[in-house]
């Protein structure tokens, strides 16, 4: 008996992206397997967000193919997607519950189902009494909790989190980690887009490290470390980018 090979959920083939004369991604190839937690790493401006936006059909790739379950993603795809973008926000002048029900319904939940799920979630994160409060009356941390709820409310089988801990306080960081673990336990595929190596080391099965739109490293965490003399991912990141990357000196794309 041979062990069944995991099949890819996401396939990126010969993907290139140009904005004007600037090449942001240059012939990128990688796969994300079903059920794994995958780290899409790189410094600011390395092309992480561009890759995700192209994968989700927000950008049209200049060249190449980006597939989820063997076809380009559209909102009518069979895959249930949870996406927390790097640029995030909600309808500020609407109530928490109205916004959650709206997104839940757009994500193909029945309105009653979306309402019930939302109230349970708000109870879980201590915001039940804020259900009818306008979003802009919530604190930044409370808004983050609502944002996370909106991201996962359709029980996504593919959860893409772009810089998920950006701006998160420790409480919400903990909540996020719990949510990721729950989704992992549920068999979901999780993609973490980040430049925080400790999160990757702790959560990811495999990773790709982007530099100037190309893969500087790709494989399991162990394979990548082995290829770099068993250095920590932090050290590998510094080796690839140099110290200036840590000072945030690169342009974001």
């Amino acid at each position: 008996m041979t062990k069944a090979q995991p099949s890819p959920l996401v396939e990126v083939k010969d993907f290139s992206m140009k904005f004007g004369k600037t090449t942001v991604i240059d012939s990128l190839n990688f796969e994300i397997m079903k059920g794994e937690t995958f780290g899409l790493l790189g410094s600011n401006g390395s092309g992480k967000t561009t890759t995700i936006r192209a994968l989700l059909g927000i950008y049209k790739p200049t060249e190449g193919k980006l597939y989820i379950e063997n076809k380009a993603y559209t909102v009518d795809s069979d895959v249930t997607l949870g996406y927390l973008p790097e640029e995030r926000g909600l309808y500020r002048n609407e109530s928490v519950l109205d916004v959650m029900i709206y997104f839940g319904t757009l994500k193909r939940m029945r309105p009653n189902e979306a309402k019930e799920w939302s109230l349970n979630y708000l109870k879980r994160v201590g915001l039940f009494d804020k259900a009818n409060v306008k979003i802009d009356k919530l604190s930044g941390g409370q808004q983050q909790k609502v944002q996370l709820g909106v991201t996962i409310m359709n029980h996504p089988k593919l959860l893409i989190l772009d810089e998920p801990t950006k701006g998160f306080d420790p409480v919400n960081r903990r909540l996020l980690m719990d949510i990721i673990e729950e989704r992992q336990a549920d068999g979901a595929t999780v993609v973490l887009v980040t430049h925080h190596m400790e999160e990757v080391e702790k959560l990811c099965d495999r990773l790709i490290l982007l530099k100037d739109g190309s893969a500087a490293a790709y494989g399991t965490v162990e394979q990548v470390r082995a290829a770099h003399n068993n250095k920590s991912l932090d050290d590998i990141f510094v080796d690839v980018y140099g110290h200036h990357a840590l000072q945030g000196g690169e342009q974001h794309v």
Binding site: L56, G57, R88, L90, T105, E113
Partner: protein, 409 residues
Amino acid sequence: MRYKGESNMFNIGTVIGFEIKRTLKKKSFWIGALSVPALLIGVVFIIWLSNKSASETSDQFKNERYSLVVLDESERVNPALLSQFGAQTVENKQKGIDQVESGTTDAFFYYPNDVAENPVEAYAKDTGMFENSKYQAVAEMLLEESVAATVNPADREVLRGNVAYETTTYRDGEEYNPLLHMIAPGIFLVLFYFLIAMFGSQMLTSTTEEKENRVIEMLLTTIEAKSLIVGKIIALILLAFIQALVVILPILVLYLLFKDQLNFSLPVELSAIPIDGERMALGALIFIGSYGLFTGLLVAIGAAVPTAKEANGFLGVVFMLLFAPLYAVSLIISSPDSLAVQILSYFPLTAPIPLLLRNAAGTLPLSEGLVAAAILAVCAVIAMWVAIRLFRYGAIEYSNRLSFKTLFK
């Protein structure tokens, strides 16, 4: 969970519901909608109060009794009426004035020999700015009633201008009233003006909120840009109808409740308004094309700029083009074939008002109307396409305007 086959239509429905619900919760919507009937109620109340007061005052003044002397050189005032009023006569004008000055009588009326040439003069004790009008009211009543009694009732009504006139005109051998025929197709012009004036700004900013709130990426991965835009546009149309109802219903109720007191009736019977099928169909086509074009244009502008504030800067330009033909209404109606009117009718951004007005006035030939409606429809489709594309690809340009080049990439 639903399934993908039903998701597009359902999502449009979800967007419509969300947009309508949140707009109806805004105070500004209700202030805007209720201010028109509130203003009308206020105006109607003032008119009613004023009419009531004027009528009461007039009756009161006519029946006012005060000591009076009269000198009637015109010999038109009926002495019986004067005696009913308790008026005395004097021999000369100065004597009458002296009596008023000395306070022995309240008022003196002098009717000159030729009342058509010279004014009737009233000399009286001052009783205040408003009360003083009672003297003229009585002087006028005495003369008018006296003269009216000398002619037959029909002549009296002619002299009083109480005669109704009816003009019947014909076109192509059939009875034709141009004003009456304007009413039904003119509804499209009113509707278009109302929709654009009330919701232009909202159309323009309907997509900037998603940008400003950074919610666009989450939306674009859950709903087609096309469905979102279509849902928003349908919601705007439905909201316009809701707003129209909010404006019209109180006015209708007010009319039905107070039409007798207001002494107001509709100038034409509703059942007498002719419905010209051809003109109605053409009006509907022009209306749909015009509304589609301007909605697409406003949404496209909103999608291309990063903030609502910046988007609003363009509203003035669009409105200027659209409403400029209103300054040429008389030209549009009187000289529909002039070059200026033709240009205004065929240039899509100025076309809606001239076309709808000419169609209502019956000066828009069917062939010309169909060509213009087709131009509007094509431009509307292009504007919608541009709007959806700009929204689709410009939405995540959070702080930049989208370049024209990007649109066609």
